[in-house]
């Protein structure tokens, strides 16, 4: 053995340096410092692109983002309208009617102003608003927190901006219910089938252990029809449904003409349901 400790350390040191330096050089050659900068810029750009589908940016008119405008005054003028709207939705979608309020399943429901908009409390509410109820439904948010929470992608935002439920995939973990700030989701604690009155044979039921909610009537709008609740309003224009990304649509004209509010906009979920108060 003519290898001395001194020689061994020399060789080891040089190879370590070569190893570290070599990988750095190779990395630089492969990615290239310019393309690293380009990638960073592209990333920034895509963030902006994402924002532009929301309210603050310029939406792309070729894409769809369905939304709804609800005129609370029309619901005050016709107090029976709310009931009709709820019945229309729930009978079309085979929503069960449980006797116990704890098991309640709701896709659209009527509530008081202060419950719908708890972030804008008003001690001296006008009489009409105080004595009447307004309809609530899934907001079909542009940034839906329920979709982020779902571990199976059973709930997802489709290409038309509708937050959908795929009941085949739902495992009933109820993370989405915890994530939704609007209480739009209901859980089937019991087998719903025996509690469905007036079965609609063209639409499925749900099973025990899945979460359900409003789907903006995806099965109807996919065929060019209006959602069931909008149809129930008839010509009153109490509820107007349409594409928010299309500047010429009826809903965008309404939004231009009226001051509208959204439920809890401070959360940044960008709801697609607007209320004319």
């Amino acid at each position: 053995m003519d290898n001395k400790r001194r020689n061994f350390l020399k060789v080891a040191g040089i190879s370590t340096l070569a190893g570290l330096g070599g990988t750095a050089v190779i990395d630089r050659l492969v990615t290239g410092s310019t393309s690293v900068r380009a990638a960073a810029a592209a990333d920034h750009g895509s963030n902006q692109g994402e924002l532009s589908t929301g309210h603050e940016g310029r939406p792309d008119p070729s894409t769809k983002r369905y939304g709804m405008v609800i005129d609370i005054k029309k619901f005050q003028q016709d107090p029976s309208l709310g009931g009709r709207v709820v019945t229309a939705c729930h009978s079309v979608h085979n929503v069960p009617q449980f006797p116990d309020k704890k098991d309640e399943i709701k896709w659209i429901w009527m509530t008081n102003f202060e419950n719908a908009f708890p972030d804008s409390p008003n001690l001296y509410l006008d009489e009409a608003t105080e004595s009447h109820q307004l309809p609530l439904l899934c907001n079909h948010c542009d940034k839906p927190p329920c979709v982020r929470a779902c571990p199976t992608k059973a709930t997802f935002r489709n290409k038309d901006g509708v937050v959908m439920m795929d009941f085949h995939r739902c495992i009933g973990c109820r993370f989405c219910m915890a994530a939704c700030p609007y209480g739009s989701r209901s859980f089937n604690w019991r087998e719903p089938a025996p509690f469905v009155k007036n079965l609609n044979k063209d639409f499925p039921r749900r099973m025990r252990g899945v979460v359900e909610k409003c789907s903006f009537c995806a099965e109807r709008i996919g065929l060019g029809q209006q959602p069931a609740c909008v149809e129930a309003c008839g010509d009153s224009k109490a509820m107007v449904f349409g594409n928010l990304n299309d500047p010429e649509s009826e809903i965008r004209k309404l939004l231009k003409e009226h001051h509208t509010i959204q439920r809890n906009p401070a959360l940044g979920t960008l709801p697609s349901v607007f209320y004319i108060v």
Binding site: P204, A218, G222
Partner: protein
């Protein structure tokens, strides 16, 4: 052979014991199911052999196309347009779940969960 008086009867008892399912169920084999086919429709969505083997995959792909991709386009069969739907297309011809779906599913001991939510035609 030592102890052949014990080993041979023992072997016979063992063989009889492990073949219990064969001789116990002898003659009771279920006949091959004969699902009742619709009278007025002659062609299905796919040729018979294919639909028999692949109908579950077809239903899954319909489900994903309609629900997840949002492609609710119809397809044409003998000049008529049909939706991609179990309830609105399949069960309109195959009007009896008991006489069509259940015959084979019971025979093959498969329990599809379709009917937990989807509504079978009234019988």
């Amino acid at each position: 052979m030592y102890d052949s008086g014990k080993i041979i009867p023992g072997l016979i008892i063992f063989v009889l014991f492990i073949t219990i399912p064969i001789w116990y169920n002898r003659g009771t084999a279920a006949s091959v199911p004969k699902p009742v086919l619709p009278k007025d429709a002659k062609t299905c969505v796919l040729p018979a052999a294919e639909i028999r083997a692949e109908h579950m995959k077809l239903l899954n792909s319909w489900r994903d196309e309609v629900l997840r991709t949002g492609d609710r386009g119809t397809f044409e069969l003998e000049g008529k347009q049909y939706q991609k739907s179990l309830m609105l297309t399949c069960m309109k011809c195959h009007t009896s779940k008991k006489q069509f779906c259940d015959t084979c599913h019971t025979y093959a001991s498969v329990k599809p969960y379709c009917w937990d939510c989807h509504i079978a035609p009234a019988e």
